[in-house]
């Protein structure tokens, strides 16, 4: 390893990066875009679902109940209907997502403590289902507190009305909030960008013939690899900071543990992903192949890491597979540190797993990278 040569490779990378506008835009654009998408899409889910209300009772009490439901903002009446049958037809045709049926004997059922309202939900969309679940928690029969109609008061609400489609709390937006998303999002973005950037950057040099020139010079494999990794690692840290900052400013995401621990976890994930990108680059023949291989890693990472679905709910085989993915360990670390205020050393098994992953990947990558063309 020669310091001057390594420095030359670093300078070269930074100069090239500075001129690569698209990559620069992605470095900043991807985190912002994802943060906004993940952060706001969840809130949007709860608003303005197309609905129809068939109020057959048409009493002051039932009208009051309808007003309360509308006040939640979850549903928005788009067509009028008179009978539950009409609601079903509208639902089937996809004109509405939610139908609210209030029977003739609404007040009598209320008095008897029976199910008084039926909410029909388009069950083909699980997100609509879960949104409607919130609707069902609007207290029935009693005027809700004036200041907040959306906070359900469990004592006063009566059991859920029977609905033609059962409402399953599958991906409950009330539980998965931006606060829960943002820490994991750091991992998602780092996995997506770091693996791809390094893999593509090296394959691109091979495609353009730069690599043939480089390997005919005294520069060593380690200098080339480290010279590639460091600038992208820096980018990873910039992205991490950007998400943390935006998460704090826009969604008030807390960092209950130490900020240093968050960065340590991020650095571990960045190194793991860069090493994986290097390994991919030694296999891929073209930039397109490098992208495909990246997605091969990225998709299981998103689905199995516990970012989207709870880890414990997955079958054992999927859990074992997930243990092999660096993102799984990072998500445990970052949620532990940011949300539960844990010390990173308390979470040592995941730190160890990431370290082992980095060492293995890096070793494979350097072993596979030859200063030869064959």
């Amino acid at each position: 390893m020669n310091g001057r040569r390594l420095f030359a490779v670093l300078i070269k990378e930074f100069r090239q990066m500075r001129r690569d506008r698209v990559t620069l835009a992605m470095i900043v654009g991807i985190p912002i875009m994802q943060l906004v998408l993940f952060g706001y899409a969840i809130n949007l889910n709860l608003r303005n679902l197309p609905a129809a209300i068939a109020d057959q009772s048409n009493t002051s009490a039932s009208r009051q109940q309808v007003m309360d439901m509308l006040a939640t903002g979850v549903i928005e009446p788009v067509v009028s209907a008179e009978t539950p049958e009409q609601l079903l037809a509208l639902l089937r045709r996809g004109e509405i997502s939610v139908g609210v049926a209030i029977p003739y004997d609404y007040e009598r059922r209320l008095a008897l403590g029976q199910e008084a309202i039926q909410i029909m939900v388009d069950g083909s969309d699980t997100v609509v289902q879960s949104a409607a679940a919130q609707l069902a928690q609007v207290p029935i029969g009693e005027p809700p507190p004036e200041n907040d109609t959306r906070l359900p008061d469990r004592q006063s609400s009566i059991p859920l009305p029977q609905s033609p489609v059962s409402i399953v709390s599958f991906y409950n937006p009330q539980r998965v909030s931006a606060i829960n998303i943002v820490p994991g999002l750091i991992g998602i973005i780092l996995t997506m960008t770091m693996v791809m950037f390094t893999a593509v950057a090296i394959v691109r040099e091979r495609e353009r013939g730069n690599m043939e020139l480089l390997i005919a010079t005294p520069v060593s494999s380690a200098e080339l690899m480290i010279g590639k990794i460091l600038p992208y690692g820096l980018i990873g840290l910039i992205q991490t900071s950007l998400i943390l900052l935006l998460g704090k400013l826009v969604f008030q995401v807390p960092i209950r543990g130490s900020l240093l621990d968050v960065y340590i976890a991020a650095i571990l994930l960045i190194l793991a992903n860069l090493a994986m990108g290097l390994l991919i680059s030694t296999r891929a023949q073209s930039q397109f192949q490098a992208m495909q291989m990246t997605f091969f890693v990225f998709l299981p990472s998103i689905l199995l890491s516990g970012f989207m679905f709870p880890f414990d709910g997955m079958p054992h085989a999927a859990q074992w597979l997930a243990e092999l993915l660096p993102l799984t360990h990072f998500i445990r670390l970052v949620r532990g540190v940011m949300l539960r205020g844990a010390d990173i050393l308390e979470l040592w098994p995941d730190v160890l797993a990431l370290l082992v992953f980095i060492v293995l990947m890096m070793t494979f990558a350097i072993l596979r990278f030859r200063k030869r063309l064959d």
């Binding site: 420095f7 030359a8 730069n210 020139l213 005919a216 010079t217």
Partner: protein, 324 residues
């Protein structure tokens, strides 16, 4: 530091050099000797094994068989020690298109272990020597073919290597730039550099001190251009006629005629050996009703090329039949 370089007269020596890619014999049993301070040419069509040979000689490809000694080092085992003594210019422009002229040279200087102060002087020197004074800040990717070649050459000689490998350096360059480029090469050999250059241009091959003709992986002839053309003395004829097409049809049927190529208003004919072909040709032409004047002409490298590749395919065809 690696092993010391033995100073002797021979820069490259290869014996039985072969490279197979699966069933394809890209380079097949090539023997090669290149003396110092010479321009040694590889002449051959595309796919004749020029690039593969060069890559093996500079240690980028591992030969399937054969021994290589470059500047006294055994290749590929001592390839790493060789790297600082050679310059390599790839066929495709391989400097960084998104770096400026100066940045490219600065990078290469550092990678070739030039100390910073020396590097700065050397970069300035090359910028002037290779006429990049006003263009030091221009991105390499935006330059013309000739400028790119010049820059690539400047990059390849930045550490003043003893040996330069140039893989079809002028394939994408206009004639004037090619001439300038060759001037530079001779300046370098004058200063003691050995140059191995591959080309498919006959006029470039003629400029080399020595050259090897490669055909389908085999070395079919080598020597100085004069030696090579000398072997064809009396075997090249010029047929001047008004009816070139008809004459050509008649000529290829004459025994002993290897090829007849139309050059403007005349035909250039290559014949088998010094049998009295001229008379046969004249007879055949007049019998066919074609008025023509036939006279001997000085052989060119192109004739040599046609002659040796013809021999090669004749020698090969009986062996190949059982395989097919």
């Amino acid at each position: 530091m690696g092993p010391t370089i033995v100073k002797n007269e021979i820069a490259i020596r290869a014996r039985g050099l072969s490279k197979h890619f699966g069933s394809l014999k890209a380079v097949d049993d090539v023997d090669l000797t290149v003396h110092r301070s010479q321009v040694y040419g590889f002449l051959g069509p595309n796919g004749s094994g020029k690039s593969t040979s060069i890559r093996m000689l500079c240690g980028l490809l591992t030969p399937t068989a054969g021994e290589i000694e470059v500047l006294g080092l055994t290749i590929p085992e001592q390839a790493e020690a060789l790297r600082q003594h050679i310059g390599y210019m790839t066929q495709q422009f391989s400097l960084f298109a998104d770096l400026t002229v100066r940045e490219n040279l600065e990078f290469l200087a550092a990678v070739q272990n030039l100390p910073s102060k020396k590097a700065r002087l050397r970069v300035d020197e090359l910028l002037e020597e290779y006429h990049f004074e006003g263009r030091a800040g221009q991105l390499a990717g935006t330059m013309s073919g000739g400028q790119k070649q010049r820059l690539a050459l400047a990059g390849a000689v930045i550490h003043k290597p003893e040996l330069l490998f140039l893989d079809e350096p002028t394939s994408a360059v206009d004639p004037e730039s090619r001439r300038d480029f060759w001037e530079k090469l001779f300046e370098l050999t004058e200063a003691g550099t050995t140059i191995l250059v591959s080309t498919h241009y006959m006029d470039e091959a003629e400029r080399c001190h020595r050259l090897a003709i490669l055909d389908r992986g085999r070395l079919v002839a080598d020597g100085s251009p004069a030696e090579l053309t000398g072997t064809l003395d009396g075997r090249t004829l010029l047929v001047e006629t008004e009816m070139q097409y008809r004459a050509k049809q008649l000529l290829v049927k004459v025994p002993g005629v290897i090829s007849a190529a139309q050059i403007g208003n005349s035909l250039r004919v290559l014949v088998d050996s010094d049998r009295d072909c001229q008379r046969h040709i004249e007879a055949a032409l007049s019998a066919g009703g074609v008025g023509a004047e036939v006279r001997p002409i000085t052989p060119s490298l192109e004739d040599v090329f046609v002659a040796v590749t013809h021999q090669q395919s004749n020698a090969e065809s009986p062996q190949e039949e059982p395989e097919a």
